[in-house]
Symmetry: C2
Subunit: 203 residues, 2 copies
């Protein structure tokens, strides 16, 4: 227990988050426990409960790191052309699913225990991602109202998510198409063409 004095509380929190993320990558999303995170750090499980409310809270913090990395990746691209920007975002999402599948799954498979609300600091991150997604849509259709843009962003995200989920679960070949990028391109090309035509017609 002497290690406890070597690290500040913030450092310990970071160590625990990193340890959980490694555990997810090694064992998948279904075998997570506070006990195992503590064991890997050389602490008693009670120590983790001094740092986080519960396993849910620790998982949310691990997910926040994933969302921050996704946001940073998206911001690093920053393309002027809105279609290329949307394609790049879909590509980043696919890369996350492909290269760090279990961490990507943890974003979705985890549910708050006892219907506890998702805390605000976490919501800010998911909102930031949707803001990024709506920017190119606003550029493409400047007169589309905020509600139309929000619905298009939600539809596109869900659709891209489906392509990535089936790819990660090795099920795309059921549809006779093994390349997720062809599906992403096809989705964006036709959805955006239809969405733009609909918004222009309404003006």
């Amino acid at each position: 227990m002497s290690r406890r004095n070597q690290h500040s509380r913030d450092q310990l929190r970071e160590l625990a988050i990193t340890s959980l993320r490694r555990l997810v990558l090694e064992r998948g999303v279904d075998k997570l426990s506070v006990r195992e995170v503590a064991r890997r750090l050389g602490y008693a499980p009670g120590m983790i409960y001094h740092l986080f409310e519960n396993l849910d809270d620790l998982i949310l913090h691990a997910n926040a790191v994933t969302l921050d990395q996704l946001l940073a990746g998206i911001d690093a691209v920053d393309l002027d052309d809105p279609r290329r920007a949307l394609a790049a975002m879909a590509g980043q999402y696919l890369d996350l699913a492909r290269e760090r599948g279990p961490l990507w799954q943890l974003l979705f498979r985890h549910r708050m225990a006892a219907a506890a609300p998702v805390p605000e600091w976490y919501q800010h991150r998911t909102e930031a991602l949707f803001t990024r997604l709506q920017r190119p849509l606003a550029k493409l259709a400047p007169r589309a109202d905020a509600q139309q843009r929000a619905l298009a962003a939600a539809t596109l995200w869900s659709a891209v998510h489906g392509i990535c989920a089936l790819y990660v679960d090795d099920k795309l070949d059921v549809a006779g198409e093994r390349d997720p990028r062809r599906l992403l391109d096809n989705l964006l090309e036709h959805y955006l063409a239809g969405w733009l035509a609909g918004n222009e017609a309404a003006e």
Copy 2:
């Protein structure tokens, strides 16, 4: 063990499939075992291995029942209008995900052990579903070639799958839209409009 004489081999296979399907609905997709199916039927586990090659084989047969029910549901609708037919198919898929979530998940979360190939009798069922999906597309764009139709069917299925998956995992509210039907309608409306315009322009 005297029960063995009461049932034919086919009846026993059906009992085992039904038992596994109930087990999935009760416990989810991650806690399936030949041992538990056998226990529920009052047989030794070895008995199941007389009926099925292994757990994978039993799961495929349980999934085949789900696919048959989905096919029957789709065939019962049989709408002339291709847009309404596609919307009805998406609705059936959503109903399956919503009402029998674990059985729907079992279709995707299950992987063949040791990369064994998916057997032909099972592939026929998934192909039948894609044939159903391509029919309304052929009606909408009679001159689109088979490859374009197949790609559109794969894209639409993946996209619909994503909306249903996020809905079942209770994550749609992240996108600010809790109603999966609004997303399905929005997807079909704009994707089909763009896809049709693209195919007409190419003619």
